[in-house]
């Protein structure tokens, strides 16, 4: 990895690929790595911008990318508001958009590459229901309220909970995607709920935090199910601290995104499918080694 772009081996009049994302965790680091390595291989320059959780900033970033004339845009939507406004700017300038991770809230895009967040969350909660034989008190640890990811993962799990009426959500809290905050929040959840039997953490960072809180409370046998598939969670699954995660493939997504972005800007992208849902894998202690071998998170994995 390292700094993106710059030392392109191709003609300098080749247009750069703009990337707008909001960096919060390893998923994005892996996606970034996938993009950078693919771009370096193909000899294209990447301009990566981090909106740092601010919707208006993301819109500004896309505007800047458009005005500096990038050839195509890889877009990871922060939330519905920033999505529509950003993509319509790119559309207006005729810049092809490759959406990653999130389906944009509006505008036209060449393709969407991502995991089905709603389905992943549903599968994760289904797995939790399975572990608990469809019955018991569970807690949900949510991400930053109102971010797209938080809402989809909430929606997916809600569907599953609807089908598993035996599961009783006794606590819903937010730890803002933050591991450290999750330790505190979940320690309090454990205190309040003596009979807690299962946990759905909406991201791996928060699951890791919840696991260490459970460990300090001496209640590490509570099953924790989560989403993302960070390498650290694989280790935790191995140690039995976390039961399962829905592994995504950010590195591959990054690679595909760059390939498609190049194709779209060179005008060879007609046959790119509109939707490229990447398989997400339920990783438990049973299939841990296979999952590791896949290196979903690039060299980090």
């Amino acid at each position: 990895s390292g700094t993106p772009g710059g030392q392109s081996s191709r003609d300098s009049d080749d247009k750069a690929i703009g990337v707008s994302m909001s960096f919060v965790n390893q998923f994005y680091a892996a996606a970034q790595q996938g993009m950078e390595e693919e771009a370096a291989e193909q000899g294209y320059e990447l301009v990566i911008l981090n909106a740092q959780g601010n919707s208006s900033t993301q819109v500004n970033h896309v505007q800047n990318l458009v005005s500096q004339g990038v050839g195509s845009l890889i877009f990871i939507q922060l939330d519905a508001a920033s999505g529509g406004a950003s993509i319509s700017q790119a559309n207006a300038a005729g810049i092809p958009v490759v959406a990653v991770d999130q389906v944009p809230a509006g505008g036209n895009y060449v393709t969407y590459i991502g995991s089905d967040s709603v389905a992943m969350a549903r599968q994760a909660c289904d797995h939790l229901a399975e572990l608990l034989d469809g019955e018991g008190d569970i807690a949900i640890v949510e991400g930053i309220p109102a971010s797209s990811t938080q809402m989809q993962r909430t929606e997916g799990c809600d569907t599953s909970l609807h089908e598993n009426p035996g599961l009783d959500v006794v606590s819903t809290t937010s730890a803002d995607w933050d591991q450290n905050k999750a330790v505190s929040v979940f320690a309090n959840v454990l205190t309040a709920n003596e009979d807690l039997q299962g946990v759905f953490a909406q991201s791996d960072d928060m699951a890791l935090g919840a696991a260490s809180a459970a460990e300090s409370a001496g209640r590490e046998n509570i099953p924790i199910v989560t989403i993302d598939g960070f390498p650290a969670v694989y280790d935790a699954i191995e140690k039995g601290h976390i039961s399962a995660t829905m592994s995504q493939q950010p590195y591959t997504m990054g690679q595909i995104a760059v390939q498609d972005a190049i194709a779209a800007m060179e005008g060879t992208g007609e046959d790119i499918p509109k939707e490229q849902i990447q398989e997400s894998v339920l990783v438990t202690n049973e299939n841990l080694e296979e999952a590791r071998a896949q290196r979903y998170y690039g060299t980090q994995g």
């Binding site: 301009v47 819109v59 970033h61 505007q63 939330d79 508001a81 406004a85």
Partner: protein, 341 residues
């Protein structure tokens, strides 16, 4: 008896005084202004697209909502206060607009009024807490910041509201002479605030209050009333900024009021020469500070600096922009000393 010997200092001629005034005004601004000019020079040199009309307009567009909030923040900071709630109020007040429009189906212009009233109301609450509750401004506005953030999430349970009337989106989309309306709105707000601060008795009094509240009170300035007015104005302007953001995003996002916006707002004011101790600051300075932030954010994306290194560069440039003042001053000082010697 007490014989003392004193003599009038020789009075300076009026022209000399005028020069001193201009100088002292320049001094106050020189840091940020020179910082801005240097920044623009460097950016133009490094990036071929930086100095295009389009890009310069973009910069104005991108800072417009920050600028509207910063106008209010300038008043509050000169007054000796601080408002941490502005960006949260931005989020909440536009959420109120969208909810009354979409969920209650009210005519949109009424929703706008309700939204502006919400912002003004929270500002007023800040003012009441500060002026009558004697709560430190930092705490009072921290509390309303939390409350506003929570309420805007609570209103729709976190779901964004999409779809606003087309005519409203014009605020962001309609252009006059190639510049979108929101920029004019920001400029009008800044100019009105600047004129108010410079020419209205109430505006002048802010400096007195910020510099020494007791003296201001003894001089007959209605300190509390002014505090109320200024905090309410800041709340109102945050709601106006909310409209700008809403029109731009064509959506009301519960997480819209972001703490990084808050930092940009305060940074613009402080980089522009205002002191958080109160009594010092100007709208013009704030505008320069605002442009520094805008140019910096825009320029760094144009230069393709690694996203992780961008904050490092921003930090360094802010310091340089502010320090260029000190250095410049010391050069002046050495010179004038030599001349007197």
């Amino acid at each position: 008896m007490a014989t003392s010997l004193t003599e009038r200092p020789t009075a300076l001629p009026a022209s000399a005084i005028r020069i001193t005034q201009v100088k002292s005004r320049l001094k106050m601004l020189s840091g940020p202004l020179i910082g801005l000019v240097l920044l623009i020079a460097v950016m133009s040199f490094l990036s071929p697209v930086f100095l295009t009309t389009n890009n310069l307009i973009n910069i104005l567009v991108q800072v417009s909502y920050i600028g509207i909030m910063a106008a209010g923040a300038t008043l509050i900071i000169i007054l000796g206060g601080i408002d941490l709630s502005v960006s949260a109020v931005l989020g909440l007040s536009f959420m109120v607009v969208a909810v009354t429009y979409q969920n209650l189906g009210w005519p949109f212009w009424i929703c706008i009024i309700v939204g502006l009233a919400t912002g003004t109301g929270i500002g007023l609450l800040n003012g009441v807490l500060v002026a009558f509750g004697k709560v430190q401004a930092f705490i009072a506005t921290l509390a309303t910041m939390f409350a506003a953030t929570g309420l805007s999430l609570y209103l729709t349970n976190g779901t964004p509201i999409l779809g606003l009337p087309d005519w409203f989106l014009g605020l962001s989309q309609v252009r006059l002479l190639g510049v979108s309306l929101q920029v004019y709105l920001m400029i009008v707000v800044v100019i009105i605030a600047a004129l108010w601060l410079k020419y209205r008795p109430a505006g002048r009094s802010l400096y007195a209050i910020g510099s020494n509240e007791e003296v201001a009170r003894l001089s007959g300035i209605r300190v509390k009333l002014l505090q109320l007015r200024v905090y309410a104005t800041a709340g109102f302007l945050a709601a106006v900024a909310g409209l700008v953001v809403g029109a731009r995003l064509n959506a009301a996002q519960p997480s819209a009021g972001n703490s990084s916006d808050l930092l940009s707002v305060i940074a613009a004011v402080v980089i522009g020469g205002a002191s958080l101790a109160g009594g010092v600051g100007s709208m013009w300075g704030t505008f320069v500070g605002l442009l520094i932030i805008g140019v910096l954010n825009n320029g760094l994306t144009l230069l393709n600096v690694s996203p992780h290194l961008q904050p490092v560069v921003i930090g360094a440039v802010i310091i340089l922009a502010v320090l260029s003042d000190g250095r410049l001053l010391s050069i002046f000082r050495v010179r004038s000393r030599r001349q007197t010697a």
